[in-house]
């Protein structure tokens, strides 16, 4: 029913790239949201993607996760899986997790139940009907809740959490889903400075076991991540490299500060 691919883990030597985009284009009513975009994320990498509003970051996320089909171009996961052939649920089961810009957790369920739903496993209707939680699974859930710092809130409704806590819960849900690749959309939006730094630390922690792609505006956050940076502008890559290098690029300065 669902395409679950068990991976040998990204440390295996034959894997070239975790995510590979080549010449991807998508337009809405004549407006090119993504224009000949190419991107290569290595296994185990932590990559930050920045860009002004309308640079095509969200559309790129939509294309990778199967919400939107590109007009043309290649989108490959783990070298040879063509992502344009699958829908959201398939892609999630292939091992790509996505965190939305706006925190989306199930507000009417408890923190524990939210994580339980995200926990890796069979997603079929029948299994859900007769589902019984094993003790290992229960331990795993508790472990992740602890990791994202919500232990005290375990049996509270997700709707009662603060904005930052919801972001963490969502990240926790992503981790427990066991993806190889994590797409994180503006995790620091609306957070306090301290929360921002904690989030950066959390993502670096997560990066030990997962490939992570972060889309963000906040320069302090990017600095804290200390990773390779890709600058998007008008749907294609403007510059790529270490933050110091990129921020010295005159075109990047023009795009960010010029107008």
């Amino acid at each position: 029913m669902s395409a679950v691919v068990k991976s040998p883990g990204f440390h295996s030597s034959e894997l070239q790239s975790m995510l590979y985009l080549n010449g991807v284009t998508k337009s809405f009513d004549g407006f090119k949201a993504i224009n000949n975009l190419s991107l290569d994320i290595a296994p185990g990498e932590l990559r930050a993607i920045i860009g002004p509003n309308g640079a095509g970051k969200s559309t790129m996320m939509d294309i990778i996760t199967g919400k939107t089909r590109p007009d043309s171009g290649e989108v490959r996961f783990r070298d040879n899986i063509d992502l344009t052939q699958y829908d959201e649920a398939d892609i999630a089961n292939l091992g790509i997790g996505r965190k939305f810009q706006k925190p989306t957790v199930i507000e009417t369920l408890t923190v524990w139940e939210n994580v339980e739903l995200a926990l890796a496993g069979n997603r079929s209707v029948i299994r859900a009907l007769w589902h019984k939680l094993s003790s290992e699974q229960g331990d795993r859930i508790n472990e992740v809740i602890k990791l994202v710092g919500l232990k005290a809130k375990t049996s509270e409704l997700a709707g009662s959490l603060s904005h930052g806590q919801k972001q963490w819960l969502e990240i926790g849900m992503l981790i427990v889903q066991g993806p190889e690749l994590l797409l994180v959309d503006e995790p620091a939006a609306g957070m306090t400075d301290q929360e921002t730094m904690e989030t950066a630390a959390l993502l670096k922690e997560i990066n030990r076991e997962h490939t992570v792609v972060v889309v963000e505006h906040d320069m302090d956050f990017i600095k804290a991540l200390d990773s390779k940076v890709t600058v998007l502008h008008e749907g294609s890559v403007l510059a790529e490299g270490r933050l110091e290098v990129v921020s010295a690029n005159p075109r990047v300065i023009e795009v960010y500060l010029g107008r």
Binding site: M1, S2, T65, K67, D87, E88, A89, A92, N93, G97, R98, F100, T104, V105, I106, E107, T108, L109, E113, E116, L117, A118, R123, S124, V125, A128, L129, W130, H131, M173, Q177
Partner: protein, 384 residues
């Protein structure tokens, strides 16, 4: 002692212990199932305790509506699918039951034709259409009561959920679905009695439909069905599956990105709900004695929604309470002040959406919470 322990450990037991309001509801239903027929059959007519047959039938009707409301609450309250065409599944179940009852009339029809129902003789039909075959058999008919609504729900749901028709769009096309069926069943050449529908039923499994005993049994069966359906629905929403439904209701996209096939989850619950609605219709028809295309009316389907909304959506017992309360009000007002009823119903719609988003159940809960709040400081004060 031992019995209670077994109860506590059994799946149903655990379910009900966690659902206090539901347990009360089941107790009330069980009491009604036993007492109403007893009061009708055993108490002498003049007695204070005697329940006249017409009340038994009326209560039976309310219970069928309660079952229908339960079916709608399962999909609307827990999965956010607002079907404005659930009356169609109810009516289909009713028609299947009606077809079986028509076949039971046999030679006793006005035209005395053993092979054809009266309306077919009237239309000069010579042969029974193929889709009427098999309805002589009670078991086949009961199977079809579930299968026909399920099949329609499956096809409709498969198409709609697969292409992600959601929210008001889905509501509008469910209205179109029941409207199309309404028009179709009004046609004489459909072979379901056209305008007049199916009526003049005589007996069911050899028991006279007019007799008090049969009516009491039908009432008890209705009560039992509501109880079983309630337990089934509670089991569904308490499982992990139920939590996925809630996740779909509150954040459909998120659920998809978690890897759940939203369309499969929706389709399953939609079909279950349609079957429950069909059973409600099948129980309804022998009690009221007629099924006609009017049951497909788009307005009927919208009325079901108001029962659930008034009772309290997403609670299951609220749906049962709402269906009985609104229909009791309808019976009372259409009898006493017919002019006022539509004003009342209209106002109910407006008030319940504006001021009582959680329905009767929500109001009761609010009152309880307030009382608990009031009590808490005083007990604290006594301690200090």
């Amino acid at each position: 002692m031992l019995n209670t322990k077994i109860f506590e450990r059994s799946a149903i037991g655990r379910l009900l212990l966690a659902d206090k309001a539901g347990s009360y509801l089941l107790m009330v239903l069980f009491a009604a199932m036993v007492l109403v027929p007893l009061c009708n059959l055993l108490m002498p007519e003049g007695s204070f305790l005697h329940i006249p047959t017409y009340i038994v039938v009326l209560l039976g009707k309310y219970l069928c509506y309660a079952l229908l409301a339960l079916a709608l609450d399962l999909i609307w309250g827990y999965c956010g699918i607002l079907s404005l065409g659930h009356g169609a599944f109810f009516a289909l179940g009713g028609y299947v039951m009606g077809m079986h009852l028509m076949r039971q009339i046999g030679e006793r029809g006005v035209y005395g034709n053993a092979d054809l129902p009266d309306f077919m003789v009237f239309l000069n039909w010579t042969e029974l259409p193929w889709y009427w075959y098999g309805f002589d058999s009670f078991f086949f008919s009961m199977f079809m009561v579930a299968l026909v609504p399920a099949a329609l729900a499956f096809v409709f749901g498969w198409l709609a959920f697969r292409s992600r028709v959601t929210g008001v769009y889905l509501s509008i096309i469910t209205q179109a679905m029941t409207y199309a069926l309404l028009l179709a069943f009004f046609r004489n050449d459909m072979g379901f009695g056209g305008n007049n529908g199916l009526t003049d039923f005589k007996d069911i499994l050899g028991f006279n439909l007019q007799s008090d005993v049969t009516r009491c049994v039908l009432f008890a069966l209705s009560a039992l069905s509501v109880m079983l359906a309630y337990i089934l629905c509670r089991a569904i929403v308490s499982s992990k599956y139920g939590r996925v439904l809630v996740a779909i209701r509150d954040a459909e996209s998120r659920t998809r990105f978690m890897g759940y096939r939203v369309e499969h989850f929706k389709l399953f619950v939609f079909v279950v709900s349609a079957i429950l609605a069909g059973i409600a219709g099948a129980l309804y028809v022998p009690q009221v004695g007629i099924i006609n295309p009017g049951e497909f009316g788009p307005i009927n389907s919208i009325e079901i929604v108001i029962w659930v909304a008034i009772g309290g959506r997403g609670t299951l017992f609220g749906a049962v309470i709402g269906a009985v309360a609104v229909n009791y009000a309808k019976t009372y007002f259409t009898g006493a002040f017919p002019e006022v009823w539509l004003f009342m119903l209209g106002a109910l719609f407006v008030i319940s959406t504006l001021y009582l988003p959680k329905g009767i159940v929500g109001v009761v809960k609010q009152l309880q919470d307030r009382r608990a709040e009031r009590n808490a400081p005083t007990s604290q004060g006594a301690q200090s």
